[in-house]
């Protein structure tokens, strides 16, 4: 049964959702030298998805992102493990990192380390896990659009 939608929540969501995703990506890349990282970024993205869930239930979460939860899990794990294998194949220590510096015309100079790519994997895994939790436990949303206070 579809819950009744709340106008206030829907409007707020429209403002907050994209901002939260941008913040999560910022945290992901900031994590190399500052507080943040793939795990935290993934959690913020998961929080944004949680808002979607509160507003529209499981269907809305499914409609938000392309693909199914396990695609994210698999891709994330592949990226992370791939970074470990990359250094092994080169004969280095596992998870050894390399930094690439590139000139991105307008934006300026950017430095990308393989540790950041590893973090992208972690980010994807966390997002996949959050999606999977909604998939597994979120199938019968309560009748009210917002769960009671004690439920949060």
């Amino acid at each position: 049964m579809r819950p009744r939608r709340s106008l206030i929540l829907d409007t707020t969501l429209r403002l907050v959702f994209d901002a939260a995703l941008v913040l999560s990506v910022y945290l992901l890349f900031a994590g190399h030298n500052q507080p943040g990282g793939g795990f935290v970024g993934g959690l913020v993205a998961g929080g944004a998805l949680g808002l979607r869930y509160l507003a529209g239930g499981l269907d809305e979460v499914r409609a938000t992102l392309p693909g199914r939860p396990w695609h994210y899990l698999s891709a994330g794990l592949l990226v992370a493990v791939g970074m470990a294998l990359r250094s092994l194949v080169g004969g280095g220590a596992p998870l050894d990192q390399t930094a690439y510096t590139g000139d991105l015309l307008v934006i300026g100079t950017a430095k990308l380390t393989t540790a950041t790519i590893f973090d992208v994997g972690v980010y994807l895994i966390v997002v996949g896990l959050v999606l999977l939790i909604f998939e597994g436990l979120g199938e019968h949303p309560s009748e009210s659009p917002v769960p009671e206070e004690h439920g949060s």
Partner: protein, 494 residues
């Protein structure tokens, strides 16, 4: 070298990622999982040969030198454990593919199983106490899922016991880590080995005891074993087999590693461990005698046999540790096999209760033999692998003049023989045409299940045949444990 050490951890995770990606295509998952574990088996066998040849090897993860970074390190003991663990995981995986049930019905079986493999491999290879905690968590997370595959009420109930106990042990482990770090400022095992020696005796003893309790819960020694016979039997047979063969032995490995590497000879709690070992043997075997279900009897015997391994450790001599190592080699193979046969019996008859079973030898003569050989081996009847292992322990015990524990271990062997013959005569002997649920397997399934079980029986016979070289290997592994200089120097790069 880097690939040899990191491969057993990284490859199963890669396999898990591919298995998740393969999604609902069970055949693709099977191919990926079997290939992954085969590759890991090859890697770990090469690693064992290399380590036995050249001594301990170490790799610094991320290129950060120890003690700052995480070290992966393999000495002979770790390599032996790794080879055995991967062989068991592979054999049980083949068995699980054959068996209708857990593997077929659950899309998550293969990924979770491979994560379990990664966790077990990491536990053996890590050279860092905190990383050991992580490895335990990885394999425990996977084991929670595997234990409750199927989601029956009794599985969830005993799964709860398992989860609560494991979480408690993890919390204690974390507290122990905090104490160790507060006292020494490092968690690298090799570095600790030097710094713990400088601590006051009281602190050292406290840390040693705390770690014994933590790993004691994980390896199910007296009096911390109560969760095991309750939680293992309800899981799907292949899962029980791999848990019985491997998980408690990871705990025993951690006990061996921490007690020999971290603490100098004067804080080694030898007498305490011997008392605990004797009690573990006796209580485990007495528990088994009172049970009437095959898997529950076998589960209690796991506890009893952990006692033998702890006895080898408690002697703190090269001979004692060598006995413990060869006992672990024997036990992992035999115990896994027995649970696999128990699974085959349940598959055929629909029950594991001794009271309801009879005369199965007429229907399944092959199973009768496949059960009898490892059962006799478990009881320590010559010429099987159990005899070799127990002989090594008894000789070590006599050498160290620990007569009481030797006497206990021999008496417990008799009781083990009693309960093995109870299972065998009840299930396979007896009057009647044999218990039959009418659930026969298709030929390919049967070939996979009986084939993998038979392979393990052959492996346990091979252990008995190759007892000489294997004991020599165990002795070299034990010598490594008693003399930690090689390990420390390799890790700290001196």
């Amino acid at each position: 070298m880097n690939l040899l050490l990191a491969g057993p951890v990284v490859l199963p995770l890669l396999g898990a990622a591919l298995c998740i990606g393969a999604g609902r295509s069970r055949n693709a998952q099977r191919v990926i999982a079997v290939l992954t574990l085969t590759a890991v088996a090859v890697l770990s066998a090469v690693l064992l040969l290399r380590v036995d040849d050249e001594g301990t090897v170490a790799v610094q993860v991320g290129g950060w030198e120890a003690p700052v970074g995480i070290t992966l390190v393999a000495d002979r003991l770790a390599a032996i454990m790794l080879v055995l663990a991967v062989l068991m995981l592979l054999a049980v995986l083949v068995y699980a593919i054959g068996q209708p049930g857990a593997e077929e019905d659950h899309v998550g079986f293969h990924p979770v199983y491979l994560v379990l493999a990664a966790g077990v491999a990491l536990a053996f290879l890590t050279g860092d106490l905190f990383n050991l905690f992580v490895a335990f968590e990885v394999l425990l997370m996977a084991s929670y899922v595997l234990l409750t595959l199927g989601g029956r009420a009794d599985q969830v109930r005993s799964g709860m016991t398992y989860v609560v106990i494991s979480l408690l042990a993890s919390a204690l482990f974390l507290a122990a880590l905090a104490f160790v770090y507060a006292a020494t400022g490092t968690l690298n095992l090799a570095d600790l080995s030097e710094k713990v020696a400088a601590l006051p005796t009281g602190v050292r003893t406290g840390l040693a005891l705390l770690l014994i309790v933590v790993f004691g819960i994980k390896s199910a020694i007296f009096p911390l074993f109560f969760w095991l016979p309750d939680s293992y039997p309800t899981a799907p047979s292949p899962v029980t087999a791999v848990f019985a063969g491997l998980l408690t032995k990871v705990g025993v490995y951690a006990l061996l590693r921490s007690q020999t590497l971290l603490f100098p000879p004067d804080t080694r709690p030898g007498t305490l461990l011997l008392v605990v070992a004797a009690l573990t043997m006796v209580v485990g075997v007495l528990g088994a005698v009172t049970q009437d279900d095959i898997k529950r009897i076998l589960s209690f015997h796991i506890v009893s046999q952990i006692g033998y391994m702890v006895m080898g450790l408690g002697l703190f001599t090269v001979a004692g540790l060598a006995g413990a190592v060869i006992y672990i080699i024997h036990h992992i193979v035999v115990k896994t096999t027995l649970f696999l046969v128990a699974g085959l019996v349940e598959q055929r008859t629909g029950t594991g209760k001794l009271a309801e079973l009879t005369g199965l030898r007429r229907l399944e003569p092959v199973l009768a033999v496949l059960f009898l050989l490892p059962a006799l081996s478990l009881a320590g009847i010559p010429p099987f692998s159990g005899f070799v292992a127990k002989l090594a322990l008894v000789e070590a015990g006599m050498g160290a003049e620990a007569y009481v524990v030797v006497a206990v271990s021999l008496a417990v062997s008799l009781l083990t023989l009693f309960s093995m013959s109870k299972i065998w005569s009840n299930t396979f002997w007896g009057p009647g045409p044999g218990t039959d649920s009418g659930r026969t397997l298709t030929a390919p399934r049967r070939a996979l299940m009986v084939g993998s079980t038979g392979g393990l029986v052959a492996l346990s016979l091979a252990i008995a045949v190759a007892a000489g070289p294997l004991y020599a290997l165990s002795e070299r592994a034990a010598a490594d444990l008693m003399d930690t200089r090689g390990y420390v120097e390799e890790v700290l790069g001196r």
